[in-house]
Amino acid sequence: MAGSSHDSARRNNLILAICVAAAVACLPLVVKDVYIQNMLVLTLMYAALSQSWNILSGYCGQISLGHALYFGLGAYATLLLFTKFGVLPWFGMIAGGVIAAAVAAAVGYPCFRLKGHYFVIATIVIAEAGLLLMLNWDWAGAAMGIEVPVRGDSWAKFQFARSKLPYFYFALGLALVAWIVTWKIEDSRWGYWWRAVKDNAEAAESLGVVVFRSKMAAAAVSAFLTAVGGGFYAQFVSYIDPESVMSFQFSLLMALPAVLGGIGTLWGPAVGAAILIPITEVTRSYAGGTGKGFDLIVYGLLVMGIALGRPEGIVGAPLRARKRAKAA
C-alpha cells in the first residue's frame, strides 16, 4: 500500500472507468434492438444500485437486506411529487434521495447497535413494514400503485415513450456517479474508517474511529443513491406499485451483483451486474414463458453456484492471487 504505487493504481482505475463508460456510451451505435437496449438499461441500473448497496454492506460491513425500502421511497417520492404537486422528476429524485437518507439515519439510530443476524433481520423487517404501510396508504395509491401521466417526450419531465436511449444515458450516468462516489470514498478517511468498522468494530473504536457515526454516514450515502435509482426506475417503467418496488426480492436483487462480482470491491458490483442481469433477462424471456419457473431454477442454480464456486467474487479472486504472488 506504499504511496506512489497506490496512487497510480487508483489513477489507473479511474482511467479504466472512464474508458469503460465511454465504450458503453457508444454501444447504442451498434445495438439498435429495443429489447437489448432495455436489458442494457437494467444492467446499468443494477450496477448503480448494487454499487450503492456495496457502500453500506460491502465497505462498512453492515449487511442490509432491506434496501428495497430506500429504492421504493425514491420511486414513490418521485412519482407522488410529480402526480400530486407537479414537481419535476429531477427534483423528485433528489427529494426521494434526501428522504431515504433521513429514513436510513432514523432506522440506523436504533439498529446499528445490533450485530450479525439480528441486524440483517431488522433490515428485512423494517423494509417489510414499509411495504405493508405503502400497501395500505390510500393517498399513495395503496396496492393499486401509481402511474406516470403521459405528458409527451421531454427531458424536463424525464419521460420518453419513443426511445430507450435517454434512459440508457441516465442509467449510465448514475452507474458512473455511484462508481466515482465509491472510488472517492475508498481513499478518504470515511473509507478507511468503514473498512476498520467492518473488520473489527471494537478494535476500531479503541483506535479512535467513531464507529456509530461511520455506520450512519455509510447508510445515508448508500440510501441516497439507492433512492435516486428508485426514482429513475419509476420513470423508466412508468408504473409502480408497492410489490414491484419495495418487495424483499428487490433487496436481494440489489445485493446479488455485488456478491457475485466481489463484495466490498470497487469493480465487483459493475462486473456482477454485467454478468447477472443479461443472464436473468435472457432466461426470463426465452425459458420463462408464463410463470413456468425455468427462469427461477436457472437463477437459483446460478446463485448457488456463485456462492459456492467463487465465495470471494469474480473481482475478489485475482486480488487474492495477486497478494499471494506478492508474498511469494
Partner: protein
Amino acid sequence: MTAEAVIQSLASGLLMGLIYGLVAAGLALIFGLMDVVNFAHGEFLMTSMYAAFGLYLAFALDPLASAPFVAAAMFVFGAVVYLGLVRFAMSASANAGMVQIFATFGLAITMRGLAQLLFTPDYRSIPHSWLGGKTLKVAGIFLPAPQLAGALVSLAAFGALWLVINKTDFGRALEATREDAGAVALVGIDKKRIFALGWGLGGALVGLAGAVLATFFYIYPDVGASFALIAYVTVALGGFGSVFGAFAAGILVGVVEAGTAFILPASLKYLGIYALYLLVVVLRPRGLFGSL
C-alpha cells in the same frame, strides 16, 4: 369491545402462535447448532405442504395422518441439503456469512421455480380433511379444529424434542456440538454426522409444521415466503439458536399478531410482529432468551 372478544382473539392468537413456534423450531435448532440461517426455510415448509397435498391426492391420506411420513421425508431432505450444499458453504474460503445466506437463498429460488414448474402457480387446498371447517366451542370461545390440532401437534413435537435433547445420546451430542464443535471431535463425535442429523431433525420439524398447515392454509409455490419471515423474527426474538426460546417467542408472536388484528385493520396485522421484534432487540440485543 367485550371481554369475550378479547379472550376469543387471545385464544386464536395462542393457537396460531404454537404453530408459528413449530414452524420456527427447525430454523432455531439449525442456527443454534452451527450458526447458519437457512434462507430456504420457507421453501422447506412449502415442500412439506405440497408433500402433504400429494399424499392426500394419491392415497386420500389426511394431512394429520400423513404428517409422520412428511416429517420422515423432510428428515432425509434436510440431511441431503446439508451434505450436498451447506457443508460446502460452511467451508468457503471467504465471506462465509454471505456465502451461507446466498447458497441457501439460491436453493430457495430453485425450489420455488421447481414448484412452479411441477405444480403451476395455482393455489391449492385440501377440500375434505377430517377437521376442515369444524370448530370446537369451549366456554363460549370458538376454536377452529385444524388450528387446535396444529397447536397440539406443536406441543407434542416440542415435548418430544425436549426428550430427545435431554435424554438421548444423540441429544447430548447435539448439545455438546452446539457448545463447542471443535472439542467434540476430541471425544470421538463426528461433527459432520451430528450436523447432518441436526439438519434432518430441523427438516422433520418443518415437515410436521407443513402437514399441519396444509389442513387449513392454501398451498402455492410462494407460500413459504410469509411464514419464513415470521419464522426468522420468531427465532431472533427467542434468542438465536434457543429452540425453546423459539417456542415461547412463537406464542408471543401469535398473540401479538391477533392483538394487532384486533386494534388495526387485519391487513396490517404483521405490523405488530415487526414492531415487537424491533422493540425487543433494541432493548435486548440478544433476543428474549439468547445467552450470547
